[in-house]
Amino acid sequence: MTAPLLQVENLATHFFTRNGVAKAVDDVSFTLSRGEILGLVGESGSGKSVTGFSILRLVDAPGRIVSGRILLNGEDLASLDAEHLRAIRGKRIAMIFQDPMMTLNPVLRIDTQMIEAVQAHTSLSRSAALERCREVLAMVGIASPDERLASYPHHFSGGMRQRVAIAIAFLHEPDLIIADEPTTALDVTIQAQILAEVQKLCAGTGTALIWISHDLAVVSALADRIAVMYAGRIVEQGRTAALIEAPLHPYTRGLIDSVPSRNKRGVPLRQIAGMAPSILNLPKGCAFRPRCARGDGACLTPPQAAEHRPGQWARCFHPHLAEIRSEVPA
């Protein structure tokens, strides 16, 4: 087997706040192959964004990567100096944010900022750079790129701005793109257009993708593999079909079951009791214990990730191993 493109090992990112240490990301490990799409899902505050920012080394005080390794093609990003990081960011790893204005400068024309982005990592001439910009804009489905290039961000709709941000991410055909809820603010029809473009681009360029989202439906339609986060940890990961069809972890199962379209109309939705704990004050042992129907004394010690089925990992002492999944009601 070839070495994976990205290998995150025991990553821990903590925030040292006045109220205590917030273990936003704790002992997170996963790998990603070239061209693969990983969906990172979890509820608000579970640590998805901090995981993404950590890989790019964009965590600021009071936060800090306290341990772990982030190997991109075998090179540890966690220990790179600022200059090497700059050379990698935007070129070999790019990020797409929920708000495209995190990428775009409101006072510069699109061509000005895109050419700048090309020339930051290459020695292309202005006209060659412009040609590259036209190419990527066409790739993300923007009609009449020339007209668009001469415009300012405010001339565009939200969906169009996000397309431009995605085009910029693909400028250098990076090895890896980290996309943090890039379609959450967009409408269904526009979201579908963007998902279609991203799918095509990844297949065409071999770029690997980490797609962060709280929306299991979007992730299940897009990703090869899914990792589920809860309170700073990945509680389950596996291939999309296996994880959706036969989730091991009680939390994953609860999440899937509480989606309205998987419940009968007119009857109460299956719900997970209680609410997510504060990461400043996690329960002892398994963080899901206060909400878990299967929890017992064993769960008072923290469960380690174990491969309960080939390629499917969970942190749980009593995973759903044998049961047949309840039918999805019509």
């Binding site: 608000s44 006072v107 709709s157 029809t189 526009i190 959706i244 379209s261 997510a276």
Partner: protein, 331 residues
């Protein structure tokens, strides 16, 4: 049955202010000016007692504006909204105050709709006391009762909003609305900000309350799965107009309007296999310059000459079922 809410020929127009990007651009010399938005255009809709009417549509299509008018928080530019037969804008004095209490609104963002400096007991208990529904002495017990109804620990009544989670804050908003004994709730994206597991809890609460207190809902959401689950009937909006309306099952199993069809085919559903997204072409047009004729024609795969000129009327196509598309005339 007489409707509890009757929306008749209602329109709302705004003069739109500039957003940040536009203001910056204007300061730099771009020629951008304020424009008129037709947020809601000639909407007719009735809601029967004890039913849940789901209102769906994409961002900016006018859902919240319609909801605010129904809740009496905004007056229509044209047309009338009748509550149990009375035009709400024409009511005066005591009758107006009473009608206002009977229709309550629940918002998307519980934090911004709750006064951060008030304790929960004031947030929930103030209005019923002011309106004479409870005496000062009964107020404490009444608040506890309301908190209990929405599944909050009554012991938390002395806390402030920031001391609650998102899901709990939404429950406080619901308790506040219920405290004035409404008949009708307008829920505007009331579960949109909540995580899936908490969203299920709050949706279940809405359904329980409906049974217990004979409530009627206008349930606004962009989430088709949520609307399908909770609504008896659904209305679909596109750029200020209702384009289709009917019983939930009928719409979700056989949409008539090309826009509804597109919307349903694009909605993400949990799947075990990767899916190829096929897409409706084009963007949602600006409500400031809506296309003539059928607003959907620039994106509609079936558009023909008439669609570019004539607005399709919302017409009955089957019992209890309406759609606004010229294709229905051809058949």
């Amino acid at each position: 049955m007489t409707p509890i809410i009757d929306i008749a020929g209602v329109s709302k127009r705004f003069v739109r202010e500039l957003d940040t990007a536009e203001r910056i651009a204007k300061a730099l010399g771009a020629g951008i000016e304020k424009q008129t938005v037709h947020a809601v255009e000639q909407v007719d809709l009735t809601i029967k007692p004890r039913e849940v009417l789901g209102l769906v549509g994409e961002s900016g299509c006018g859902k919240s504006t319609l909801g605010r008018m129904v809740a009496g928080l905004m007056t229509p530019t044209e047309g009338a909204i009748r509550f149990r037969g009375d035009d709400m804008a024409a009511l005066k004095g005591k009758a107006a105050r009473e009608a206002a209490l009977k229709v309550q609104m629940i918002f998307q963002d519980p934090m911004s709709s709750l006064n951060p400096r008030m304790r929960v007991e004031t947030i929930v208990g103030e209005a019923p006391q002011v309106h004479g529904l409870v005496s000062r002495r009964q107020r404490g017990a009444y608040v506890e009762e309301m908190l209990h109804r929405v599944g909050l620990d009554p012991a938390m009544r002395r806390r402030y909003p920031h001391q609650f989670s998102g899901g709990q804050r939404q429950r406080i908003g619901i308790a506040r609305a219920l405290a004035v004994r409404p008949d009708f709730l307008v829920c505007d994206e009331a579960v949109a900000a909540l995580d899936v597991s908490i969203q299920a809890q709050v949706l279940n609460l809405f359904m329980r309350l409906r049974e217990a207190y004979d409530l009627t809902y206008l349930f606004i959401s962009h989430d088709l799965g949520v609307v399908e689950h909770i609504s008896d009937r659904v209305a679909i909006m596109y750029l200020g107009r209702i384009v289709e309306e009917g019983a939930t099952e009928a719409i979700f199993t056989g949409a008539n309007h090309p826009y509804t069809q597109a919307l349903l085919s694009e909605r993400p559903v949990i799947s075990t296999a990767k899916r190829r997204f096929t897409t409706i072409e084009g963007e949602i047009p600006s409500p400031m310059k809506p296309p003539p004729g059928c607003h959907f024609h620039p994106r509609c795969p079936h558009a023909f000459a008439r669609c570019r000129i004539e607005r399709p009327a919302l017409k009955q196509i089957a019992p209890g079922r309406k759609s606004a598309c010229h294709l229905n005339d051809a058949a």
